[in-house]
Every structure is written in structure tokens, then in C-alpha cells.
Subunit: 243 residues, 2 copies
Amino acid sequence: MNKIYVVGIGPGAYDQMTGKAIQALRDSDVIIGYTVYVDLVKDHFSDKTFMTTPMKKEVDRCVLAFEEAQKGQTVSMICSGDAGVYGMAGLMYEVGVGYPQTELEIIPGVTAATGGAAVLGAPLIHDFCLISLSDLLTPWEKIEARLLGAAQADFVVCLYNPSSKKRHDYLKRACELLMTYKSPDTVCGIVSQIAREGEESRVMTLRELSDTQVDMFTTVFIGNSQTRNIGGKMVTPRGYRNV
Amino acid sequence: MNKIYVVGIGPGAYDQMTGKAIQALRDSDVIIGYTVYVDLVKDHFSDKTFMTTPMKKEVDRCVLAFEEAQKGQTVSMICSGDAGVYGMAGLMYEVGVGYPQTELEIIPGVTAATGGAAVLGAPLIHDFCLISLSDLLTPWEKIEARLLGAAQADFVVCLYNPSSKKRHDYLKRACELLMTYKSPDTVCGIVSQIAREGEESRVMTLRELSDTQVDMFTTVFIGNSQTRNIGGKMVTPRGYRNV
């Protein structure tokens, strides 16, 4: 039985990795990942063999990991944030059906939702939804239904993949759908390059957000009906009753 | 200007803390938290002063932190998991309005959703909602509306605080609501004592979950329509299209 670690390296900064994630990478011969993530950790594990595959070659990346493990190498597959949130952990189990002699150990990390929330203040204190605006693998109608459902039930909403070259107007469309049930004055926030060089954040209203251009390295937060702007921080209270 | 760190210590094991969280605790004179969380870290920071307040005394705990900071102490307020997910970060900003000379730094951690997901496999790979079943500060009707909204829009659902002495039947009620839109065969999972001694997990159907008793140290996962049981692991695919 050989083993592959599937490791969430956190938002970017080395000091936001967990001890367990660092140990897994130290124990590995080979570290595999998307080029951008490999560059984030490379300097701290300079004695390792690094292998990368480009974006959209995720299945190939999984196969590569299992093939290396079969050669007797200890392998870590790395993901930014948490490996189990829009990460590689799921696909590794799916591809792993063909490699029954290899065991997976998933090592969690700080995902962009909680990493970004810490920068903005405390937007996710109460019930929230994570929704990806990427319609590469999900029909847009399904994404729309989720945005409407989340808005109607007064969830805080955190958006991943809010934009890309082909999808430059998706955030605007999402905001307009959310405004079916959420006030245009709802407190919102955006964080880009979380825990990386050039980190930036801004708190604004939902109306302002709908006219804001963001890039693919931005995570977007839309408050619930109770979320407030306290001294420039986005803060959601614990509940709806004062106790 | 003095500073308080609000620190997510992760699910429980020391090696699931981030380097940044460890550094904040090392830099502190005083570490404040709920008794159970203080016990989780105490042995690793034995030269610090620890202060605890019991459950439901969260406002007192915040005031204590600000008062200690005003005396010139460097203070860390610790929370299990992530300080910004049903944690103390929000209340610290609210109470902090009365202490404008104190700055807060929120240090994110691995929350029970992603820590538990790593134990079960990969249930949170796609859009998901976090819902707390505690109706102490939230009207039950609001929780019901969120359960129904999440089920109708086919989100994966992760439940925090699924049970307590007074709320022993809440998980059953939640499952029945979810079954309005989700199949009773939906793949579900539970994890208790995540990353602590006695960690246990189980994968089952939604029908089975509705007849399962859990305690307050359990996190519950309900899949979406695509979630599968792969060799005893709970795995949600990346999307709805095969690419």
C-alpha cells in the first residue's frame, strides 16, 4: 500500500500552512501541482522534485501523482487553500478507483473564504454559502438557482471564481440576481491576492459591488441582512436575537 | 494603539494550527478562551497566562480581552476551528467599538467543515452551505428556510451544532426538511471529535442520518445530487458536466 498526501497549502503565505501540511511536504519525494501553487512553496522545499501541469489538465495531474506513487515515490498533490474546497481531493478519489493499492490522506488548509474573511473583518460569523461562478463544469442555470436560493434564505454568500477573461460580466449578473432578495445597501467586501504580495481589500455596498470589476484572484463576500460596516470592517453578528 | 490577536486554532490537534497562529500565541502574554479550547493548547504554551470564561459568557470574554490589552498585555483570544466561522471575531469587533485604541488582527484556521471533510473524503468540492442548527440566537423558522433553500438549490450542506441536550431531535427535523428536495439516498457523513482523541466518522444515506443520534462535537455533511460513496469515502464531483 502506498500513499499520496493531498495537501491544502492555505491562501499563499508560508506561515498560513498548518504544521501537518508542512510535515507532509517534508516527507514527500515528489510535489505535484498547478504551476502557480508550486511557485508559492518551492523555496521552502528546495530538495524536492517538483512536477507541474497547467490549468484544465487536472485529470492528467492526478494520473501523474498515482503513477509516481506506483514507482515507490512518496507524493504530495498540492492545492491552494483547502484541497477539499473546489480543490483536487475529489478528483483524486475518482481517478484513484483505478489505483486501489494507493491510499489518499487529505490534509486540510485555510481556504480563501476564511482567509479572506479574516482580512475583511468577520463576514462569515453566521450561516453562509460558497458558490463558484465558473460555468465550465456547472450549467449557469444551476448557478443562478443557487444565487437566488441563497439570497432568499438570507445567507451570507462567498463567491469563488467571480471572473475570468471569458466571464467578465458574471459578477454583475450575480449581483443583480442577489438583489432580487437582498437590499442594494447590503454590506459586501472583496479581497484579492489573499495572504500574498499585493493583497488588497475593500468594503462596499452590493450596489457598488455590481459595478466593480474583479479578477480571478479575488474572493467576493456578500453580507446577510444583519451584516454591518464597523469602522471599515465587514462584520456579521452571531445571530438575530440579542442575548 | 494596542493589539489583540483573534486566533483560530483549528479543529484540535496542535499540528493542524498554522504557523501564524502559533506565532501569535508565542507573542502573547495572555491567552483567553473557552475552557475546552484552552485545554487543547495549554501544554504547548506553558509560560503564558491563561484566562477562561464558560460557554454563553462570550461578551464577558471579549471585555476581558480588551481590559487585559488596555493594561498593556499582548492578548490572544482563541477559538476552535476558524475564529470567523461561528467564532468570536464578529463579537470582538462589536465589543471593540468601545475600545477604539485597540486593533484586532484575525488569524484564520482550519474550520470543522474542511477539517471534517478531509476525514470523510471530499464532500465539499462543489458549492456548499454551512448552517448551524442552534436556535439560541436565530429563530428556528429562519433555520428551516435555509435548510429548504439549500436543499432546493442542490447545495452540499454542512451542519454545525447539530444537537445538544435540549435539541436532541433537531438533526432529525433538519433531515426531514432536506428530504423535501433531496433524495433519501443522498450520500451523507458525520465526523465527531475531528483531529482529537476519539475521532470517529461514518458515511451513510440521508434516510439513515435522520435516525442517527449525534452529539455537539459532531459535524454533519449532506451531499448534493452528484455526491457518491467511493469505497467508503464521501466524494462530490467538481461539477455536473464531464469535461
